[in-house]
């Protein structure tokens, strides 16, 4: 009796999980389902090495997904991340290529030390983020328009620098280091470790810190946020610059991995980042979503991609399978949320 009363008293205080937890759990369930189906369809899908691959395959989408998720939560898109990845990668190569070493224009760079090259390339990425912020946060131009513009701007610069192709010669040895190094005593790449650290930090930021909370308040009601004393413009500016910085880091890691700055690298990644965020339950109208959900979404996408490769589907059919699963998963999630009891 005593225990029962106590239970009943405790019940209202936190028994009902938040919508966000609900969606994240729902998508984990969805992940289990997709994984189960893949195990049936593809031999040896459940082997440990393959499972690790599923977690690590998509590290680049997950890193840019963090910034994209934060901005989506505020009700804004960032479609420029793919372009920024290409731009930063190309610039990091151009800055560190030896100066005047060849007749070939694409082999000549600025000859800067690698660290300086990285810093400069990241500053350029943040510059693109600054342009996004200026038009969206200050001039109130819809983010989809602005970031589609800067997407093309960034890729355009990358194409000019590489003459529409790539730069991959006369690079110092240190250039290829970080992207190909593994964490000592494991086969896990440094890039994956960076991704995991960033996801953890982003999770703490969004859940435990005051600026993280502001992101949700702005997305839930930006006018009320402003009237509650939140500096909305400043916060959006920081997030756009952060998103561009994360894309920049990804660009540098990818360029290092391939020891090349390729102008059409990361084409379509902005859509992948958007898809994994939506799969993870981020609301397209803002105010809802989490980095953890996005992470789950990325793994779902990874399972589908990996399974379709395993089933030996041609790339065209892979595309169709990916599209259908994503579409069904997002619809199921919205349906479940709307028909949630309570």
């Amino acid at each position: 009796m005593n225990v029962e009363t106590k239970l009943m008293q405790n019940k209202p205080a936190g028994s009902r999980m938040s919508n966000e937890t609900f969606i994240t759990l729902f998508m984990i369930g969805m992940l289990a389902l997709v994984f189960g189906m893949a195990t049936l369809a593809v031999p040896n899908f459940y082997l440990p090495q393959n499972m690790i691959n599923l977690l690590t395959n998509n590290w680049f989408i997950i890193i840019v997904g963090i910034g994209v998720t934060f901005l989506l939560v505020t009700g804004n898109f960032d479609m420029s991340v793919g372009g920024v990845i290409a731009l930063t990668g190309v610039l990091s190569v151009y800055f560190s290529q030896g100066a005047n070493v060849s007749q070939n224009a694409l082999a000549n760079g600025l000859g800067l030390p690698y660290v300086v090259a990285i810093v400069l390339a990241l500053l350029c990425a943040m510059g693109i983020g600054g342009i996004n912020a200026f038009f969206v946060a200050f001039l109130k131009v819809p983010s989809i328009i602005v970031t589609l513009g800067t997407m093309m701007l960034a890729r355009g610069i990358a194409q000019v620098v590489t003459q529409g192709a790539q730069r991959n010669t006369s690079l110092p040895d240190v250039f290829g280091l970080i992207g190909n190094m593994a964490v000592p005593a494991t086969s896990i790449k440094i890039s994956v470790l960076i991704m995991l650290v960033l996801v953890f930090v982003a999770f703490i930021f969004e859940k435990k810190m005051v600026p993280g909370r502001r992101t949700y308040l702005i997305g839930a009601n930006s006018e009320a946020a402003r009237l509650s004393g939140i500096k909305v413009t400043r916060h959006l500016t920081s997030l756009f610059i952060l998103s561009a910085l994360l894309a920049g880091i990804t660009g540098i890691l990818l360029a290092s991995e391939f020891k090349a700055g390729v102008s059409n690298r990361a084409t379509g990644y902005e859509f992948d980042a958007l898809v994994v965020a939506l799969l993870g339950g981020v609301s397209i109208s803002g105010g809802r979503g989490s980095v953890l959900g996005m992470f789950v979404g990325a793994i779902i996408l990874s399972v589908v991609t990996s399974a379709s490769t395993g089933m030996l589907l041609s790339p065209d059919w892979q595309f169709i399978l990916k599209g259908s699963v994503t579409f069904i998963a997002i619809l199921a999630q919205r349906f479940a949320l709307e028909h949630r009891k309570g």
């Binding site: 209202p12 205080a13 936190g14 028994s15 009902r16 938040s18 919508n19 435990k208 810190m209 005051v210 600026p211 909370r213 949700y216 308040l217 839930a220 009601n221 006018e223 009320a224 946020a225 402003r226 009237l227 509650s228 004393g229 939140i230 500096k231 105010g287 809802r288």
Partner: protein
């Protein structure tokens, strides 16, 4: 068919909402080709009555006869087909389209779904021309003034052969010159056998324009008579307020000390040279009709809208920005709670501490336990009816939502609390609880500004009453037993 003398006959009309009878056994007639005014305080039932005439609400019981025939519209479209058009306060024009497109909106002739140019457009345009030649058919509506947009709507009503046009406070948002122009048009309409049902809070307009006047109060019909038989404004006001007994509130005696808030020569697009002082522990009420400038004043002090003049708070000039105002110790409970005050998709727990996050965080990290404690405290203190602090604010009733907004502002620890329409859409029980909280805060020495269009609220709560009309301060009265509500209504409706 012989036209009846009365274009509309309203018989024992009743409209019930859950818990309240908004229109209670109302019967009166409206004569053909007259300007028939409808007056009453906020909540008297005018809007509900109008919405039944236009088909927006279905009646609970009673009858309406239009030209002697039974009339029960199912929609505004239905009403328009029967010849009743309405000019709402929120105008029904589409800014992005041209005047011509607006005129024919919803009445387009189509062939297989394609628009067809027909005589209809020409007719509309010629009606438009006869009323107001300065408006060009190809002009985009966004370039027109509010008054010109009204004229576009009137033209549309006339061209669709409406013989009754209902106008809901058409002069609330337009200038003096435009008002005169509108009145000329209304008189012209009357000559052309159109009946105008005219709703306004500005009593002078009724004497200037009206043939008949109907007074409503608390959902009931008080009287209908020719305007020529109404002696003066005060007779109308008496009918409007009846024997309202205010819960008398005796203000505390203020000794003269340095004011907390000094507003000096404040002007902007809406406000005209406002100056006043507010002291510690004082409750100052701003009363005025829709469009008098109450919300604009609150927004200017809070730094949302720009202004000229000085606002000095605790000896320092205020910088015009909400975050600076909050830092200086000012909080605002905004007029529109859902769009300006509340984060409806977030939980009560997340809503309450928003204006003072420093208090529940250390070095940028939110203390979850403290956050929950704060939310629980306010849910208890303000008696917010919710099973859990984890409930989304959207799921609460209006009164409880308002209490969440109030909690937010209380947690900001402000010295000056501004409340814009603090009890709009709030039920009676929650209302008196909110009043008790406001009095308690004043007793603790906080200064309070209340902006309200409900006179009983102002008279019940405030030490000082400021009357606003059309952006300027018409009077500043000390509340007390001698306060005269008739005089107040006289002033805020534009009287001297």
């Amino acid at each position: 068919m012989q036209p009846t003398e009365n274009v509309l006959e309203i018989r024992e009309l009743v409209k019930d909402f859950p818990g309240v009878r908004a229109v209670n056994d109302v019967s009166f007639n409206i004569k053909r080709s007259t300007v028939h005014c409808l007056v009453g305080e906020n909540g008297a039932g005018k809007s509900t009555l109008i919405k039944m005439l236009t088909g927006a609400y279905a009646r609970t019981s009673g009858r309406i006869l239009l030209n002697g025939e039974e009339y029960s519209p199912r929609s505004t479209r239905d009403a328009r087909q029967r010849g009743i058009s309405t000019l709402f306060q929120e105008l029904n024009v589409v800014d992005q389209l041209t005047v011509e497109e607006n005129l024919t909106l919803g009445l387009e002739d189509t062939t297989f779904g394609f628009l067809r140019k027909t005589d209809k457009i020409n007719k509309m345009v010629s009606v438009m021309n006869s009323i107001e030649p300065s408006i060009k058919p190809r002009q985009q509506v966004s370039t027109l003034s509010v008054a010109q947009k009204q004229i576009v709507e009137i033209a549309k009503a006339v061209a669709t052969e409406s013989n009754i046009i209902i106008m809901d406070e058409p002069t609330a948002a337009i200038s003096e010159g435009e008002i005169a122009r509108l009145f000329t048009i209304i008189r012209k309409l009357r000559e052309n056998n159109v009946t105008v049902i005219y709703i306004s809070h500005r009593l002078d307009e009724i004497f200037e324009l009206g043939d008949y006047v109907t007074v409503m109060r608390d959902g009931k019909h008080i009287d209908t008579k020719p305007v020529s038989q109404v002696r003066d404004r005060s007779e109308l006001i008496k009918m409007m307020i009846g024997k309202t007994v205010f819960e008398q509130y005796t203000p505390r005696v203020e000794e003269s000390k340095e004011p907390t808030l000094q507003v000096q020569h404040l002007s902007n697009h809406k406000l005209k040279d406002l100056s006043f002082d507010v002291h510690d522990g004082e409750i100052v009420g701003f009363y005025g009709l829709v469009g008098a400038g109450k919300t604009e004043l609150a927004r200017a002090i809070y730094g949302v809208d720009t202004y000229e003049g000085d606002i000095v708070f605790n000896g320092r000039k205020l910088q015009p920005s909400p975050d600076k105002a909050i830092a200086a110790g000012i909080a605002l409970v905004p007029e529109e709670r859902r769009s300006q005050g509340l984060f409806t998709i977030l939980t009560i727990r997340a809503n309450v501490p928003v204006m003072n996050m420093q208090k529940i965080s250390r070095g940028g990290f939110i203390d979850g336990a403290q956050e929950r404690e704060v939310a629980e405290k306010y849910v208890g203190k303000l008696r917010i009816a919710s099973s859990s602090i984890e409930k989304e604010a959207a799921q609460l009733s209006g009164g409880n939502q308002q209490k969440v907004v109030l909690s937010k502002c209380l947690f900001a620890d402000a010295d000056l609390l501004m409340l814009d329409e603090p009890t709009r859409g709030v039920d009676v029980g929650a209302k008196s609880e909110i009043y008790a909280i406001i009095r308690q805060l004043a007793a603790e020495g906080k200064s309070i500004l209340i902006f309200s269009s409900e006179l009983p609220e102002i008279v019940n709560l405030c030490d000082t009453i400021c009357l606003l009309y059309d952006g300027s301060m018409k009077a500043m009265l000390r509340n007390g037993p001698e306060i005269d509500s008739e005089k107040i209504l006289h002033i805020v409706t534009g009287g001297e």
